[in-house]
């Protein structure tokens, strides 16, 4: 059902700046994996290399292997890859179209033949926003609040049924109540989807993730089950970061 990602010796950077220094990571299928670490440690670069969005930046380079269910994604068609690996961004970026068109965007882009009304309702329900927008599906998405916009973005990502969902600090720009709804929808995604979430909010990581990877200066310092990382961290750097000694 859901997929796994295996990162092997991944080195990445921009121009002369090396950001990732040999990452080895195995993302477990059907679970939520959190990437935590101080600013600039490479979490976002690692996330963006998983759907090859980092290639859009000028001067970006990548070495190593990233295998999605055994296939090296660096040799795949990036457009097809992104239909299997979806992404939700930190700042909500709905298109200036109706809510329905937003949700159906990926489906129309991939020219899939599925029941449109059904998929729109299903995706919006999974994103915990169906009740709020069911009567105004034809309204422009720009008219929604930030929290609602982010949930619409989650819905449109879910609509194409990706195997992996990447989330780059999805609740960072949201108020607490929207943030809680987003977290609830992420928890509901387990088993059916594999989620990799970058977050600065350690309590959030503790709440929703099954596995956590602590990154520092472009390397994975420690990786394991969330309970173990937060309660009994093995490395001193992990301990100090979790205790809030540096951020």
């Amino acid at each position: 059902m859901s997929s796994s990602i295996a990162v092997e010796q991944l080195t990445a950077g921009y121009n002369n700046n090396q950001v990732l220094k040999g990452i080895d990571l195995e993302i477990q299928p059907g679970k939520v994996t959190a990437l935590i670490g101080p600013s600039g440690c490479g979490k976002t670069t690692l996330l963006r290399s998983m759907n090859r969005l980092n290639e859009m930046t000028k001067g970006a380079y990548v070495q190593g292997q990233i295998c999605l269910d055994g296939e090296n994604i660096l040799e795949l068609d990036p457009i097809l890859l992104r239909r299997k690996v979806g992404m939700v961004f930190q700042k909500p970026n709905p298109f200036p179209m109706s809510i329905r068109e937003n949700v159906l965007y990926g489906i129309k882009a991939a020219k899939l033949k599925i029941d449109q009304t059904e998929i729109v309702k299903d995706s919006l329900m999974r994103a915990a926003i169906w009740e709020e927008v069911k009567d105004r599906l034809n309204d422009n998405a720009f008219g929604l609040s930030v929290g609602q916009q982010q949930r619409v973005c989650i819905a449109r990502c879910l609509a194409i049924s990706p195997k992996i969902i990447l989330m780059d600090e999805p609740a960072a720009a949201l108020d607490p109540s929207s943030s809680a709804k987003v977290e609830a929808s992420i928890v509901a995604m387990k088993d059916q989807y594999t989620v990799v979430i970058v977050t600065h909010n350690m309590q959030q990581a503790n709440r929703i993730s099954d596995y956590t990877a602590f990154m520092y200066l472009g390397e994975i310092v420690e990786y394991g089950e969330t309970e173990q990382i937060f309660n009994e961290p093995k490395r001193t750097e992990t301990k100090e970061y979790i205790a809030g000694r540096f951020g």
Binding site: N51, L80, R82, G86, F89, F95, P96, A109
Partner: protein, 460 residues
Amino acid sequence: MSAESTQRRAIRLAGFSLGSLVDWIVPLVNLAAGLAAVILASLLTGNNDLEQYVILLLGGMCVTLQLLFLDIYRKRKTWDIKVGLLALLALGFIAALYWIPKYLTGWQINGVIHQSLFGMIFLLAAGIPTMSVALYDLLGATPSAEDVSRYPLILTPVALALAVYLLLISQLVIQGRPGLSWEIISKPYLNYSVPVKIMIAGDWPKWSAALQEGVGIRNQILGTGLLMLMTSLISLPFGVGAGVFLSEYARGGFGNFTRFVITSLRSISMLILGFTALSLVKASSGTPLAFLFKGYQFDGFVWRENQGGTFFAASLVISLLVIPVICRATEEGCRSLPNELREGSLALGGSEETTLWRIVLPWSLANIVTGVLLGCAEAAGDMAILMFIAGRGDYGVGPFKQVTSLAYMVFDIWFGEKSFHDTMSPYQFSAGLILITMTVGLGLIALLLKRWLALRHRGR
């Protein structure tokens, strides 16, 4: 604190800082003199007889400015050089006006410039700074007073531009309205002969010619419209395509080079473009392409090649001017798309093409409409390109018939046959009026369209 309340505060405080009436008199007189200068300048546009007052007023301003110069020293113990220089400037203008002859003629051109034009310019050049300086002193010479005193300098050019615009429009309406009537608009100008059979009882039928005559500007109006339509249709795909290429696909050096070449199209002299149209028409004569560029007309006997060129040929050449405009507008529109929307489309597995058609182009539609509108205005008012190939629309209006337009008609009235001048010169201003109505009307439609498009495709 908003800017407005700062100004109001300056005025209020200034009223308190200059206690006595005596301190107000000299600046007030200067303000009045400056204002009078600006008013006289605008009156001069309509009435040349007032020029006798120009030197009088300039002289008066020179005197009042010198008084202000002394008054400022009295009040604040400083010599304000600006005021002194202004007084000298007014003096210089008076001297210049004595020296400039009443009429200026250009070499071998029968253009005439009246002395009052210079009077108008000098009045404005002296009057506006006088107002500014007087206002500054009146308000107490504080930094806020300096800001407020700049207002005449800023507002006057705007007011002047509006005044000139209104002057032109009013001239067009006053002179053009009498000539307008449904008769004129609905009928074409005709002046050619058709063969007619004459039957005389008991004799063979004879052929004779009958003159088709008519007075009207219908075909010119339709021609202007068709020219705008065809130019838009031809330049839209090339312009939008080039704009999209430059913004989405071009890399560095090559992109800059392409942009430079496209922009250079607009530096080509209009006369050269006129020759281009002419050579296109002449070169196609005698070949099968003549149908496209030269056009044929049936004069009752045979199909004969036109003397001039078709709408198609004219639109092609005018498009050379319009494509860079649409290209620039499209490129700006595409670049203004926030990058996060682009990334959002990619993250959902959208290809470059999907992103282009569903995100980038809808976002740029408002800009493209602006570009098309500018292009239409150019096509409608164009005369230099039509100069060699246009006609009077005797045989009707169509893509492959001879090109004609309102702008060309006015040119034809003055530089064409005398008979055409005699028949049609009452309607030259009406043509101008209709032309400007068409352009402004299109502009309003474009404005509404852009607002609707922005709301629909940009969400605001």
